[in-house]
Symmetry: C3
Subunit: 141 residues, 3 copies
């Protein structure tokens, strides 16, 4: 994995968080492949495909607003793994994701600390998530 690609991938993650946190649900869904998968213990079932992903993102933003809060996906430690063969034409990325919650008129707290393992592929000429697996630090492994 050469470094210009790593730089593109950093931009990909920065943009993706801004999209979901500002309620641009359709644009967030389009950062996945059309049949992209999102697996997270925070939610009862995997979210699969563009329409379901857009609904999921809209719900994330709406629930925070209903609680009088702003939620942010803070991405750090984006590691584009080049130390292993990928079983597909793309990249495996591991990253840390903190979800921060701020009460309007109040204070900020870390809502949860998670890690991402993403399978990224090039779809429609740009990096896209084919599969995301979220792990929560507060859940037993």
């Amino acid at each position: 994995m050469d470094t210009p690609t790593a730089s593109q991938i950093h931009q990909f993650y920065a943009r993706q968080s801004h999209l979901i946190d500002s309620g641009r649900a359709r644009e967030w869904a389009d950062t996945f492949t059309p049949d992209g998968e999102f697996h997270s213990p925070t939610y009862p079932e995997p979210v699969i495909g563009s329409a379901a992903l857009a609904d999921f993102a809209a719900g994330f933003h709406r629930r925070a607003a209903e609680q009088g809060e702003v939620h942010r996906h803070v991405i750090t430690n984006v590691w584009v793994r080049s130390d292993e063969e990928t079983p597909f034409d793309g990249a495996i990325v591991e990253a840390y994701l903190q979800v921060l919650a701020t009460t309007v008129g109040g204070s900020t707290r870390v809502l949860r600390m998670t890690t991402l393992t993403d399978h990224l592929v090039v779809s429609k000429g740009r990096w896209s998530v084919a599969r995301r697996e979220v792990r929560r630090d507060d859940s037993p492994a």
Copy 2:
């Protein structure tokens, strides 16, 4: 926006935070254009121009020290927007900025969660902020 430029911009933000947090107020002010503007709801008025920006940065550092605290500008999710035309020869960047406060001998807390929208231009041969707009997550939009 090609990726080497995105990498330069990441370095720009990393350096800028180190400068203000360590009290190098003049050097922080020089990361803006000579007539650069800083707009934030945390402060009563915009701060405009190198001399005012240097005073502002010195005050930020001095007030934290007077409170027996160390404050840090933690920048994440730096998104160099290439999806829109800029009305100037430069780049629009959106980023997350957490201000963390640590009490000497005590604990660390998130003081505030904010987002930046910056207009960056090349001035004196390097990236500089022409205009910064800060939004606070704890303030109604």
Copy 3:
């Protein structure tokens, strides 16, 4: 310092944190030179050399697990200094390092806020830490 190198160094830090936080102690130690040095006020003595560094990393991970916690090294504001001569063939990097702790079944807190000053060199064909100095924001300077 050209920007491809800065991008490589970002990848270096992302990977390094994943290694220690997931208990890959030997691999973490190998991100230092064979006689690499780790200096931190959190620990009574400097840790020097591959074997001692691997023991240190294993202990970090084991103690967190014994407390029923997951600890994470969140690296931000990675500044590859190009504004000064290095007294060696390498790079000086300053970065912010938050250590976050999550209780299994509980909440997440910032355990400590620190800054790193690293001397990086190329060893065995890749970036490696020759010397790390950690400063804690909660300690008087």
